[in-house]
Symmetry: C2
Subunit: 688 residues, 2 copies
């Protein structure tokens, strides 16, 4: 890890700029219908036509498993990261066919493997519904009631839209509560695996090199969308620029950044630093060790828990990087200074009062969050005890919710979300009892660790047994591993009975959280957003929401705090050098396919590269496109400094990390014999 | 892990028996001067002569690094575990000579490597000083003052004894406060490394197989004691039984179990379960992940942090096993039932009131412990930030303490402890700045995670910097890596100044802990011990105190909850089978030396075995001797079920794990060409 020894000055400077948007080039995760056109034109001489923007928007897809991708051939081929596709690779694997280990290449379309529960979405249209949502909250008795009314109105809007258009419809809360947009998506659920390399090269360097650069990862994976049983003929797909990008070139990403908190108040950032992140890390440390221990038991245990484990490690490294940045005292200090500067700018205007009032509401929500997160009920509300436990909770609630009108249900059970919900709930993906016992037992003992074994809730959960004995009894006793049992749930099923017995408490805790934390926060940030708009106009981009965003930047290395210049590109040849320098560490062991293909690979071929694009988790799998909208790379990571990106973007050190098209094509041809696939992608408009 | 799905019944039964001692065979860590002679004679027809007991007592050695060993040749050869010697193996290693990886065999005595800071102690005499210590506490104003007086009296006794005899003198608190014994030790500080195998076979199976059985570990290591520059000619050393032990044979261990808590009240066990163990595990999970991450950075990082990492993993697996046992509701329930039974037995006697009063005092101490452990000062008191930070604290305190009379100092600075203290303080063992920064930065960010960055203590510790920046500044700035700088400490040294600035607060927190937790606990358990003695006589063995104890048991497998019978012995041949079944997992990769020697090894040779002996952490390296006092094995582990041994011994499932002499000798001869060493050990009285 290249930790800064004294990053305070640079970071504080970056942060000040972040509070005065549109000043700092290359920052921002821009809404597809509100890109910084003037900025792009004046600084880069770049102008996008509406047709081009629509083309890029409709070529981008969102993975239901969390991640981004793009359609890259006339036959519906979808490019994403290996680590985005890996969830499906795991679900398509068996003890005898471990796709994560061996990789996969369909020799022809007949061999492509249908994913059990993958949904891809492409953003088709956007509508501003702010007035309708805000109006619904007006006149409510209190903040909580206003929040509840807004939530119901959102469900109504989504249901209406879905019924009217047949398109998946979601209202997105932007600026943490400043605006509400209705997004409509094209949706595909017949998605098949076409190609994936071995994890050993996709995640070469493992946790050690994760969020680092230089890198040497073939973190790519290809799926194909099918419609009516045939490969999709998409209206829009990205073409390929096999020459890649040059040093300093202007490039764009179109993807789905998951979540950022840059508009958070200083109080809220301090709360993240002192409460949320430490709490999250404690959970991650615990899970990481428990999963590693489980995997150590045997080859099959290692296989079935690998996805969970990598996800946990990734979350831990990312959260640790963010906490490291937050624990620099200058971080919150700069936030506070920024707020004072904003208030000065708004002096005398009514929005200054909005800002103060917003800040107060947020503070109130933080106190509630701190209090509620220590209450027993909250452990029930956010309980995660594995797939069977989650399924049981869904079934218990679905039965109760389906008795109500859609708008009054918990949002995930509303009509508009039904198809997505059912696709997940009735997924034929394999479930492993030994891993389920591990998860459930870890969850139960975790609650006992927090509350003590004599707490009435713990007594109720354990029913006189040890956590492991109780988990074993529930997992061995339930029939929910069978999809048929989920379609016809039996209230006497032990896992369903277990969840039903605690559901009232879990719901109450969720409601308390929504009323006391989420509602005042949304209201507060709505007011703060109004103040920001008054000060800076519409040039303030909203925090990430796992919806489509555009970022722009340039291909560019950086200089570390100790003065080391990190170059922008690595090469295929460098991969072998790196492997040799770390010989003996399993994370740096190249797969046999690469060792055998070494002579066939042109060592100077660019493999990975960095850019100044402003991205974050969820952007994984985003295409990097050039000014002509052609693919030059595939986002798969950020550097360590990018982990502070949750709260601040710093152009001097924050870097996005991508696979270079040249390295990708060369490896597909020379290592995997995937020439047909390369041809399909590079054929462009001629293809199909 | 072979977790019990329904161990409640067996465990509750075992526990009830544990509360009625002398009923259950094979339980107990017996004082060397109070072995259960009648029991051994009646049940096993075994009688030990005083000469034999003295011989065994004086052949056993205690390692200052935490662990046990025994003198096994006429030339002062000492046998222990590889994992007990590994601390020295690490300190004797360099980037170019990694003894943990390659193993070590001195070709002749001239090649034996002197350890930088190892001290071995052999128990030479025991004196009961209970009356003197108890009298010192009488008439004190309150519990805290009584504790303080007892502590001072103990130091006086130790100082007097050391001055009078020249022997290292320590007063041991037995039965958690029921009795005080003065132990005098022969001490050796010139100890040299003779032989160690590779970690790959010493710790074959790694964390996955740790605390498990069947096992295949050559967990042994040999040192030699030197006196006046020449090999020690010991008065006592153990002879060897090259035929090993048979199934069902009566065997003994003589070693130094570190700590057990079997005499804890039910409240105290519940406190361990709900407060202490979860808190300890949280720290271990955090450290394990942080160390693994650090080690992932490179080969040298992996080398220098390995010892810490293995220690952390071992602590975590052991603590997790204990917590799993504690979280079975029947555990504390059985403890409570046992207390009620004891009270019934004492009904009408004054000791019943003693017991109640003792229990009340312990409860009081637990409340204080819970409260104090959340106070900022306590983070300072137990702060661990690496070797440099620890050295700085010692230097700061030594200066202040040396100005006082010995009995008024903090005990670790008293005259009697001076030589041990200085040996550690002025050790020439290598110190690695990058690891020190890691430890210090982890410690600082840990406190910030607990208290929040705006806590005045955290503000003081960080001095406006991030934890890593602050740690880097202190570690890079201090001169304390140099032994000369420790002998002549500079108050302006940044690490010393850092520790000096917080020392008053750290001392105050320690004092509060001693007064409010330790003092009432000692007093309370003194009363409880009196009650137990009244009920059961002297047949109650005291909890472990890292002093010499004898255990007896038989060579015997066990049956797991799912009905699997686990046999008593494994063989050398089984090692290769196990390695093949876990191919691909680095923890199961055999060293080259073994792969090459496979044909030369007799596969049927017994390698590891289990016995019913009652041992616990600290017993590692204890010799297993037969009824004639000859070595038949070397304790190196317990099974998973033994982890509950901290609070309860269960003869049906608790097993000690040992290396068999036959496997050890065969491997030393056939794999390592250590024939001369084998000859030296098996020569017995003829040798030397």
């Amino acid at each position: 890890m290249r930790f800064a020894t004294s990053p305070s000055v640079a970071r504080a400077a970056a942060l000040c700029l972040a509070l005065c948007p549109a000043v700092l080039a290359e920052e921002g995760m821009w809404l597809p219908n509100a890109i910084p056109a003037a900025e792009l034109k004046s600084k880069h001489g770049f102008e996008a036509t509406p047709a081009m923007l629509e083309h890029l928007q409709k070529s981008a897809v969102r993975f239901s498993t969390g991640g981004s991708g793009s359609i890259v051939s006339a036959d519906g081929l979808v490019m994403t990261n290996h680590h985005v596709g890996s969830d499906m690779l795991a679900k398509l694997s068996t003890p005898e066919r471990d796709l994560l280990k061996t990789g996969f290449l369909a020799k022809d379309r007949g061999e492509e493997l249908r994913c059990p529960d993958l949904e891809l979405n492409a953003l088709w249209s956007i509508e501003d519904v702010t007035d309708r949502v805000v109006a619904a909250g007006k006149g409510a008795a209190d903040t909580a009631a206003a929040g509840e009314s807004r939530r119901r109105e959102i469900t109504r809007i989504e249901d209406e839209s879905e019924k009217a258009t047949g398109l998946k419809s979601q209202v997105v809360t932007l600026w943490q509560g400043g605006r509400y947009h209705l997004y409509r998506y094209r949706t595909w659920r017949d998605v098949r695996l076409v190609f994936a390399p071995e994890t050993a090269i996709a995640f070469f360097g493992g946790d050690a090199d994760n969020f680092e650069f230089p890198r040497y990862d073939l973190d790519c994976c290809f799926f194909r969308i099918y419609q009516d049983g045939k490969p999709l003929k998409p209206e829009h797909f990205l073409e390929w620029d096999a020459d890649g990008a040059k040093e300093g070139e202007l490039v764009f990403t179109w993807g789905h950044p998951g979540s950022t908190n840059r508009l958070f108040t200083a109080d809220h950032v301090a709360h993240m630093r002192d409460v949320e992140e430490p709490m999250g890390l404690r959970r991650l440390w615990r899970n990481e060790v428990k999963l590693a221990t489980f995997m150590g038991r045997g080859t099959e245990e290692a296989r079935i828990a690998r996805e969970d484990f990598f996800g946990t490690q990734n979350g831990r490294k990312s959260s640790q990087g963010l906490l490291d940045a937050l624990q620099d005292p200058s971080m919150v200090a700069a936030k506070r200074a920024g707020e004072e500067a904003l208030l000065k700018r708004l002096a005398g205007k009514p929005e200054a009062r909005d800002f103060e009032e917003g800040r107060r509401l947020v503070r109130e929500s933080l106190a509630a969050s701190k209090r509620l997160s220590r209450e027993p009920g909250w452990y029930l509300a956010r309980m995660r005890g594995g797939t069977l436990a989650g399924t049981a909770r869904t079934l218990v609630r679905m039965k109760a919710e389906d008795a109500k009108p859609s708008a009054e249900r918990l949002p995930e059970f509303a009509d508009a979300n039904r198809r997505t919900l059912e696709a997940r709930l009735y997924s034929p993906a394999p479930i492993y009892p030994q891993l389920e016992i591990e998860r459930m037992s870890s969850m139960l003992s975790g609650i006992a660790e927090e509350l003590g074994l004599d707490d009435p809730l713990v007594v109720k959960l354990l029913a006189g047994k040890s956590p492991r004995a109780r988990a074993t009894e529930l997992v061995r006793g339930t029939k929910l591993a069978d999809v048929a049992a989920r379609r016809n749930p039996d209230p006497a099923d032990p896992m369903i009975a277990f969840m039903a017995a605690i559901d009232a408490d879990a719901r109450a805790a969720r409601k308390a959280w929504e009323d006391q934390v989420e509602a005042p926060q949304e209201l507060g940030y709505g007011k703060i957003a109004a103040a920001r708009f008054a000060a800076f106009g519409d040039s303030v981009y909203p925090d990430a929401t796992f919806t489509l965003r555009m970022s722009y930047g340039t291909v560019k290395g950086w200089t570390t705090d100790d003065g080391t210049a990190v170059p922008s590109f690595t090469t295929l040849g460098g991969t072998f050098t790196r492997a040799e320098s770390r010989a003996g560490d399993p994370a740096f062991e190249l797969p046999k396919s690469w060792l055998e293909a070494r002579e066939r690979l042109e060592p100077a071929t660019p493999f990975n590269f960095v850019t100044t694009n402003d991205i974050i988790g969820g952007n994984s799998g985003s295409p990097v496109v050039d000014a002509k909208g052609r693919v030059v790379g595939l986002i798969f990571d950020g550097n360590l400094d990018s982990l502070a990106g949750d709260v601040v973007y710093d152009v001097t050190r924050n870097r996005a990390v991508a696979v270079d098209v040249r390295g990708m094509l060369e490896a597909m041809r020379a290592v995997y014999g995937a020439g047909a696939l390369v041809e399909e992608m590079t054929a462009g408009r001629k293809g199909g």
